[in-house]
Symmetry: D2
């Protein structure tokens, strides 16, 4: 990437973030619905802070910050940079206003583009590498903007609609009534044999990857089989009908505690009205469709479902070995569904070109590996053998969270298409439900 391409990439990603905010009212930017979620305004500011802190301050001589207090206010968790405003109180900051934050973005963008111009930075320079990191960081926050906003709106009894699905996009998946799908249009789940053996996983040289995807290393993977597609709501309803949420035998001990403590009896955003399950989505509330992938389940629920089905979740190594040959296509944020879609409807005509020469995943035996929902794996999030924490503040980006979290793979309907890859490791605590996370099964050969 030369400097022009880098500038274009910068503009495109920054602009995409703001595009997500178009349907919002000023009020929607401010509120924090729980400690784990942040206000949209905070995401907008923090991603700018990232460029300011790691690029403009050290690399742009004479750069003047817009407000000295932003360093403290919008630092997420980088102790090496300095103290941080309390994470659980981010929603108290009615000032700076939304307009102030957009001005902050503009200020940073202007200086960033100038800096790229001045230094003629390419992707291979130090600055270029930091810019690329900053853009992937921003894409992560794009997904969080959607999930955090959904969590906020989802607690409002008015069930506000974020955005109507644009005409055309995914419209084939929107019958008048969910009943249309009950006939079982989704392809049967089949088990795909995988050879395993001594394999390599992790990011090899070339292209961007986060530190936690490295180094590429050998692992021994026993032969296994993988489900051909994601678990659907219809299948999940069977689990529920079979007493899934009433029987401790399917659950991890801490999972069962979570069920009882939180009164879980269905995935997040499911509501029962007159014995019929409804769903809150970013494009409104509606009846559940049997064929759509189940979503917004915790690891505990994914694991309990697998135990009930007498199988298990894949390990992240199994997932990666199986995914590596596949093209990275699927239902991503660009599809404008903001929700997983039933299998057939997902990929009929791949409207967004990927430039990926590998066979599309849906033409193979394993479908829906990318996009739709993040897939919970059975693997706790740990460092790879030979991993070295990067020096300085950026060493805090990933390494210090390698405890009590599980790895998820494959990206979701809220993930930018060019953000994902087969080595990508997402991670959340086992009780987290507000991400677009779902279930793919595996078992021994």
């Amino acid at each position: 990437m030369d400097v022009t391409e880098l500038q274009a990439a910068y503009r495109r990603v920054r602009c995409a973030t703001e595009g997500l905010c178009e349907p919002l009212q000023a009020e929607d930017y401010v509120v924090q619905s729980m400690t784990e979620a942040s206000p949209v305004k905070w995401h907008l500011a923090h991603t700018s802070w990232f460029f300011e802190t790691f690029i403009l301050r050290p690399h742009s001589p004479g750069y003047r910050v817009l407000d000295e207090q932003y360093e403290f206010l919008f630092n997420s968790y980088y102790n090496a940079v300095g103290p941080q405003f309390s994470r659980s109180h981010r929603g108290l900051l009615t000032r700076p206003t939304v307009a102030n934050v957009f001005a902050y973005r503009e200020h940073v963008d202007e200086h960033m583009l100038t800096l790229l111009e001045t230094t003629q930075a390419t992707a291979e320079t130090d600055i270029g590498r930091l810019v690329t990191l900053g853009l992937h960081h921003e894409q992560q926050h794009q997904e969080l903007i959607l999930t955090d906003l959904k969590h906020l709106l989802g607690q409002n009894p008015l069930h506000p609609v974020y955005r109507e699905t644009p005409s055309g996009a995914g419209s084939a998946t929107r019958p008048e009534s969910g009943d249309d799908f009950r006939s079982g249009a989704v392809p049967a789940l089949t088990w795909q044999e995988q050879a395993g053996g001594l394999s390599e996983v992790g990011h090899a040289a070339g292209g961007f990857a986060f530190d936690n995807e490295k180094p590429r290393h050998q692992v021994f993977v026993a032969p296994f089989t993988m489900a051909s597609r994601l678990i659907t709501c219809g299948e999940y309803l069977e689990f529920m009908s079979a007493g899934g949420y009433q029987e401790p035998e399917f659950w991890l001990s801490e999972g069962w505690d979570a069920v009882r403590r939180n009164g879980w009896r269905a995935p997040l955003y499911w509501e029962e009205h007159d014995s019929e399950w409804h769903l809150f989505t970013l494009n409104g509330s509606r009846r559940i469709r049997a064929e759509e992938p189940v979503c917004h389940v915790s690891y505990f629920e994914a694991d309990a479902f697998a135990r009930w089905a007498r199988v298990r979740l894949p390990t992240e190594q199994e997932w990666e070995v199986a995914a590596e040959p596949l093209a990275r296509d699927g239902n991503f944020v660009e599809n404008l569904n903001w929700h997983p879609v039933p299998l057939d409807a997902a990929h009929p005509d791949q409207s967004v070109a990927t430039g990926d020469e590998r066979p599309p995943s849906h033409s193979g035996q394993l479908r829906q590996m990318f996009g739709d929902v993040w897939e919970w794996t059975a693997s706790p999030y740990t460092s790879y053998p030979g991993y070295r924490t990067p020096p300085g503040a950026l060493g805090e980006y990933n390494a210090k969270f390698m405890c009590n979290q599980l790895v998820l793979r494959g990206g979701s309907c809220a993930t930018p298409r060019d953000h994902i890859r087969s080595t990508y490791r997402n991670f959340f605590h086992p009780q987290a439900r507000w991400q677009f996370a779902g279930i793919r099964l595996a078992k021994e050969s």
Copy 2:
């Protein structure tokens, strides 16, 4: 009051509420800083809900509500009306937006004014009495808008200014440096003998009063003496210097627990910078002035200060007996100070006419009895002898809170002038600090 006067009063009070919001950005209306405080937007809606629920729905045939869900969303605590949206989650409601809420106010106002017109309601009719109650209710929320907003802004490290004090108002009280006052410009505190004896307290017939001020009844009050003025910051600093926050001997047991649990070492909104105490106020942050009344103390702190001074707080009966002869003048919200002011500066030229023929309180021996700060009394909030809970939902207005709270008297710098009277009983939990509450001392004769 005839119908025209009642309409005028309605317009004036409703308009005053909105006037308080002028300096706000949309973001400031939405957030809830703690369970005890509510978003400004919620106050705006709830006060409208009050008129809609208690007047328009039962008394205006054919009235159409703007949104059926508002009944649930903006019900504060009236179980007899129906279930309520969770108090501690009021800040999650980014919708209805601020604009929606102002439209709701307009809708209610239009129908209210029409109803008054149609029914030719005077203050003495059923509807008129409910309107009067609704207006006093709205005035209570005007004060809460200021205190809740202050609590929200006070947690923002940017220390946002609500509004600059208008030129002139209270300007005599704003020297360049607090040091000017250290010489002791404030009049010495003197002890005023009060005869006590068999007395009457509580609201007699005539004019509006809340149910909790009734019935007027006999009490025996032993002779006592009352401090001539409020306790100042300078005096409170002496308490702090004497180890007030370090010595359990001055504190109620639960007060001492609160000190340790919350790490209290000064009143709320005090901050120490370079060994100098500063104050966050609605018109900005600045150095403490020795002469200004101390404010934002809990009952525990007021009580501890009194014990340290080897005296006590007055009972509410003592306070009322002493206040009854005095005119209700003082530093109220109309003075546009939004903060208590030093004694001399408070009343030099009483710019707002009260129409009160009694001698102004400041010309007597007891000063600052009204306005500036609510004065913590030693009296737990209980019902008066012979009290009857009003029938229906309005019986929940006051009666169900008569437990674990203390009575405060006299109004504050955030109270509308025509809202207060000598029989008025405010009440808060002993640990509450976000109200404009201060200290007046008393002792035995």
Copy 3:
């Protein structure tokens, strides 16, 4: 009281404490069932600590403590004495053992009796006054030993019996089946007019009283009427059947919170088996008897019951004015019932002489005023007009708890007979249920 009588009183009270422990196993002495309750062992040690700290250390030259650490371990809450072992962790102290604690008692007793002998202390000397205080203090802990122990045993699914009621004592009150009582053997509740007026309450000179009963002072009490007896379980069941625990309208706001938070649906120690209510008592579990006084209710429940009955609880002044002329007889700890008894059975032949020349309360119009259950009053616990906190550590005995508690009057079935008087003020938080506390109603004349 001369020195011999004082020594006898000392021996009698100390011995009575140990008598309460006779049925206990070593295990029962150690455990703390909640922060508000203490292990029996702790009570045994703390009451000894009281004599050691306030009498032996300051007044017995050359006194050697048994263990220096006991000063810290067994200090309840006297900051002026020094720091205290955490109240909520008292149950962690398996050492000193029960045997050690009895040895501590013996050590203190020996030195106390010697000191009384040496100084020829009478009740009127400084030491004598402290001894009298210490003995009343010990009697308070005798009651707490029973209530704390009951709370502990009551949580054990084995429902251990503390002690069988001795043959004879209260046996008339123990029919084979509670059904016997359902015919309504208990006298009808009648309303007793009380003149009120300018009255005196509080302890006058002569005899022991706690500081919080002083000074005697004038109050004006409007005419009122008082229920002739306590509320029974049968009457309380009517409240329950009428939806008492389901309807917020009967409850204080904080009371209703407590109902929901704790899932209250009956008094403490009530258990429903096969649609029949059972009771855990110190002498075993059994069916509820309709005629027995209801017990182990919180203030919130007592208040809700009164509101449901469209009356109220008496104030402490009303209670005292009504109780003063009555003899202090009733069902006390010496009756060996350890539970309130139905009215007729309670006093058929007053077996324990009181030496009180006043007419027994049961022969008058107001019955059960003393003993059986502590009666919740509507009065928050505050200091009396003219009250002075005693100097030194003993000033912490009562004064620092005058916040967020309610006054109870009259003593209970766990109170020593010579410990109670009409001016006696007990106090607990409104949610407390583990004391023998019940309900007497009052209303306006």
Copy 4:
């Protein structure tokens, strides 16, 4: 093992449990110091419940339980058996008494020995396999008795001594002053190269192992190096002096939260007096010795220490591969030290014969691999590839805890010698500190 050997093993293990209780007073058996720990009495009963529930009830026709309620009271967490008495309230059960519980043990023992006799059970029969499991289960609780008891006594300001170390045992390790060791008598820590490669881990056929050690399976382990010995207190003090507890950079994010929330500034049981660190041990309080292995650290502390030292903790696979060739000797519970001992002192004359023909671990390059302290590994506790949860209630023994815990290896000074093996996987939450857990380092080759 024939029936006689099995009976002897049964007697030996059951007897060993009771032997641990010899120094206890009745009071010490009852109390629960935190939810994670249980009263000694509960351990005594639960281990008996295990034999009763899984062997006597199903396999001994006509067996009569001692008390029907014990099934509920002493069930730890087996939902398939039935509901359980609340774990966090185990300390409320003063009844059954200690004597009752010993009678329960006797009852179970009598029937167990009879059953073995009657059925002529050998270790290879179904009953024999369950007995063997029950005995290993009991040994796990033996260790917990010591650690739970230590936690209880450790919170008592009297610092009660569990048992003096018997004369001779470990006496060489007890100099008059810890200073003696400061000269560095402990052998230098060296780094031992390990070849790694495609390896097998997990339990192979033969001998007892828990389900979580199976199946034996292939793993690829990159070459690594392992520290020759455990980290000492002296080395840990260096970490502390270097600001280990003050610098977030060494800590996992959740670890740093734990440091601040709990105020950690040293391992559990360390106390600073006059700038000198002391240690509470089961044989009393004393000064820290620089040479003894550091103990009672959480995973967070072990991990932070490793990061500070610029290395890491071993994975459990690395640990097992390295440990497999070594003899299982070390400082176990039979050594009667109840605390880790300095390296040289630990093994001078191996007084307890192991019957193990492999070279003792201390003569090799890796020392202290077994005994002394459980060694935290970097491996989250998960199931092995191909793992199958055992059917029925015993499937709950291990499998449901495979979340949010870390694996520890090697046994401790509180572990019975014949309980440990190289494939043994212990597991605790990362914040747990009350086990005898310490630190061994590893790094890349």
